[in-house]
Symmetry: C2
Subunit: 152 residues, 2 copies
DNA sequence: CCAAACATGAAAGGATCTTTCATCATGCCC
DNA sequence: GGGCATGATGAAAGATCCTTTCATGTTTGG
């Protein structure tokens, strides 16, 4: 059930190159293709790997502007949080949404085409989300690191 | 040079299932395997897809605690920012780092095992980063959405 | 010490990849 | 319009890869 040294090597390899062929992966990890295949299959089935995703260059699909938004809700009731969260899940522009402890209730990470797009989004759909009292916007001027790999 | 309907379908498919075989992908997109292969290769070579990554369940590798941190620097000089940024890039626990406009200079997204781990990290390595004047920590209590797919 | 349970690598048939090639569509210049 | 160049397409085929089977080796627990 726990991860041994080979499992960890497979996970690390697939985290950086998710489309590695089983043959290449086996060679990198120094096991036979059959063993590598079984190991990898297990890692997927048991949920160590929740998926494999192509990373698409945001600018190439007209989503070059990144914005972080802190949100404070009106009331701190379970219903209020639930309503806000399900509305957030339905908004495709919101990439991350986390309930946090601190000055905000939620922190959002949003991708849009440009500032004009964000302005529309903010005015027409963000501040009208259920229970939103106030928002604070942080425009991202430079992406130093975006979605870095897990180090384990 | 621009993306046509088929390219977009390929990108969307690979974003949700990065390990799709070329044969399956071709079927989904309704082109021959040869064409699909060439299209996909082009999308990688021309940078529309910057990589493919396995998404590893954070808890399974003992990184179940997510923390957001706002950082304010001492001075706002280019040297100060550069020094901070290169130190950040070297820290594997920091998944995201963005230079923002607003109450903070930077917003960080950090993954660690638990709060005790974060406390050590914060006290010994975060506040000692070059030029850091103050930090504000937001512990994540619930991950509503994490690294959602780009919608295009 | 033995037996059961499990993990491993070689092997092989079946599926897939990747290139080649002939064909067809498109745009462009005369 | 005619002719030509450019580029995209699908079929085909050899090379590669996947995935299962099986015999062997290794660990576990009694």
């Amino acid at each position: 059930m726990p991860l041994d040294r080979i499992d960890v090597k497979i996970l690390r390899a697939l985290q950086s190159e998710g489309r590695l062929s089983n043959a290449d992966l086996a060679e990198r990890v120094n096991v036979s293709a059959a063993t590598c295949h079984r190991r990898t299959q297990r890692l997927f089935e048991e949920g160590y790997v929740s998926g494999v995703r192509a990373v698409i260059a945001p600018r190439s699909v007209d989503l070059g502007t990144l914005v972080m938004v802190g949100v404070v809700l009106d009331r701190s009731t379970p219903e209020s949080f639930a309503a806000f969260e399900s509305a957030v899940v339905a908004m495709k522009e919101i990439l991350d949404c986390n309930l946090v402890a601190g000055d905000f209730d939620y922190l959002l990470k949003i991708r849009v085409r440009d500032m004009a797009d964000f302005n529309t989004l903010h005015g027409q759909r963000l501040i009208t989300l259920p229970g939103v009292r106030q928002t604070r916007t942080f425009f991202v001027m430079k992406e130093v690191k975006d979605n870095g790999p897990l180090a384990f």
